[in-house]
């Protein structure tokens, strides 16, 4: 009886001893080798949205927070957090910064009414793969494919594919630019929000070819460049582009565009 008790006791003692020893070593190690934490960075990280989209140019929110706390980064680089976030971070760090809310614009209006597909596509359900078959499956070789690679890339569910073309909900859009990277046809740009005109076409073919592919195509007629008082519109490769910096949002170009491919 005594012997059994002794055996049990030994077992308990050995396990408890090893446990205690390891606990002691860990406790000492965690004190001796403690890494000083950057409390400022952690506080900043709390205020950031935590989307880790990388739009600020740093590796995720943690990277931006540590750069902010060291004073290496400017306040207000985060388009997702918007003004609220900038104010909060600015107050914390004692500096002020202004953020410009940016949203994505899709430069295509090739919906089912304006254009058609030249082939049926039965493959991997993505724009990237559809764009690789021949010159792509849409009649316009520059237009939106409508498989929603941008929708999948979007962190805030701001993009929907509506009637065959992607549409951005500017209220939800954070302006991170992930959709612009995902689009195989580079139809998406990110620009500051203001009253401005946007060319909703990216077709660089001659006018007749473009018009044949899509009713809403920019034919490069130069009419908008002539009517624009701010000189914000340039036409290159038969396709107009509007400089958002210069655009005053007067809307003259929208009224004068024969293809109706400029919208506010």
């Amino acid at each position: 009886m005594n012997q059994t008790l002794f055996a049990v006791l030994i077992a308990v003692l050995v396990v408890a001893g090893i446990g205690l020893l390891i606990g002691l070593i860990l406790a000492i190690a965690s004190i001796v080798m403690a890494v000083p934490k950057d409390e400022k960075a952690e506080a900043v990280l709390e205020l950031l949205p935590g989307a880790n989209c990388g739009a600020c140019g740093y590796s995720g929110c943690a990277g931006y927070a540590s750069a902010l706390s060291k004073g290496e980064a400017k306040v207000g680089l985060c388009p997702v957090g918007g003004e609220e976030c900038t104010h909060a971070v600015g107050e914390l760090l004692g500096t002020s910064g202004e953020t410009v809310k940016k949203v994505a614009h899709i430069h295509c209006m090739g919906n089912c009414d304006n254009t058609t597909n030249k082939a049926d596509f039965q493959g991997i359900n993505s724009c990237l793969s559809a764009s690789r078959y021949g010159s792509g499956i849409t009649a316009c070789t520059f237009g939106c494919l409508g498989f929603g690679d941008c929708v999948n890339a979007c962190l805030s569910n701001a993009i929907t594919v509506c009637n065959g073309v992607a549409v951005v909900d500017i209220n939800k859009c954070g302006g991170c630019g992930l959709c612009a990277e995902a689009c195989p046809r580079k139809l998406i740009t990110v620009a500051p929000v203001k009253e401005q005109a946007v060319v909703r076409c990216s077709n660089k073919e001659k006018g007749a070819v473009a018009k044949k592919a899509c009713k809403a195509a920019c034919i490069g007629c130069m009419k908008c460049t002539k009517v624009c008082e701010a000189g914000a519109i340039t036409v290159k490769d038969f396709c107009a582009t509007i400089d958002p910096e210069k655009c005053t949002g007067c809307g003259v170009c929208v009224e004068n565009c024969p293809s109706k491919c400029i919208t506010m």
Partner: protein, 207 residues
């Protein structure tokens, strides 16, 4: 003879006794982290690291502390305790002295603390010490076995990451989508490793 047996143990741990595919240990990270190649490699690196380290510590403890005191039956609980403590310690040390490695191993290190593959490698090697007759199983063999087991884990993970990337674009019936098809393909990959049975013994005859 010694080198030959070391090579034999190493190859056996990778091919014929692959801990994931032949012994079905460590299935959780095998299914969970094999979606992308780079996370699969990161996880495998952490597993290999901890396996070798755990064997290096538990093997002498078993031989020189538990066996002389007739406490061999305590090996499971003691090993769990030691491995958990060891991983914590390694994490603290890495964080302080090699932050780059700490960053790259990231969350995988604490994740594998109580992984059964680690425990399996440290415990099954003790059985081999008793059953291997062709040569004496030494501390070096145990370490090489742990390294091989880690590399075997890497091989299985990388292979399966490739299989899964193919699965992404496959047209899977709705009832099999997700985990079911993953398990089926895992079993097929495991089946392919059966082809290696007897391979190492034939390649490096020891007896």
């Amino acid at each position: 003879m010694l080198v030959k047996s070391l090579v034999s143990v190493f190859l056996a741990a990778i091919l014929t006794e692959n801990y994931v595919l032949c012994k079905s240990l460590g299935i959780c990270p095998f299914l969970g982290v094999s979606k992308k190649l780079n996370t699969a490699v990161g996880m495998s690196a952490a597993v290999t690291f901890v396996m070798v380290l755990a064997t290096a510590v538990t093997f002498p403890i078993y031989q020189y502390l538990l066996v002389p005191n007739d406490l061999a039956y305590l090996q499971t609980i003691v090993f769990i305790l030691i491995i958990a403590g060891l991983v914590q310690l390694v994490e603290i040390v890495l964080k302080k002295y090699i932050p780059a490695l700490y960053q790259s191993l990231g969350v995988y290190l604490p994740l594998i603390t109580t992984n059964c593959a680690i425990l399996g490698v440290t415990m099954l090697v003790l059985q081999k010490v008793q059953t291997t007759s062709a040569f004496t199983y030494t501390y070096g063999h145990a370490l090489i076995n742990a390294l091989g087991a880690g590399i075997g884990f890497l091989v299985a993970m990388v292979m399966f990451a490739g299989v899964r990337s193919r699965l992404e674009s496959a047209d899977v019936p709705k009832s099999l989508q997700g985990l079911p098809i993953t398990l089926i393909s895992a079993s097929l990959v495991a089946l392919s490793f059966l082809g290696f049975s007897g391979f190492v013994d034939k390649l490096i005859p020891l007896a």
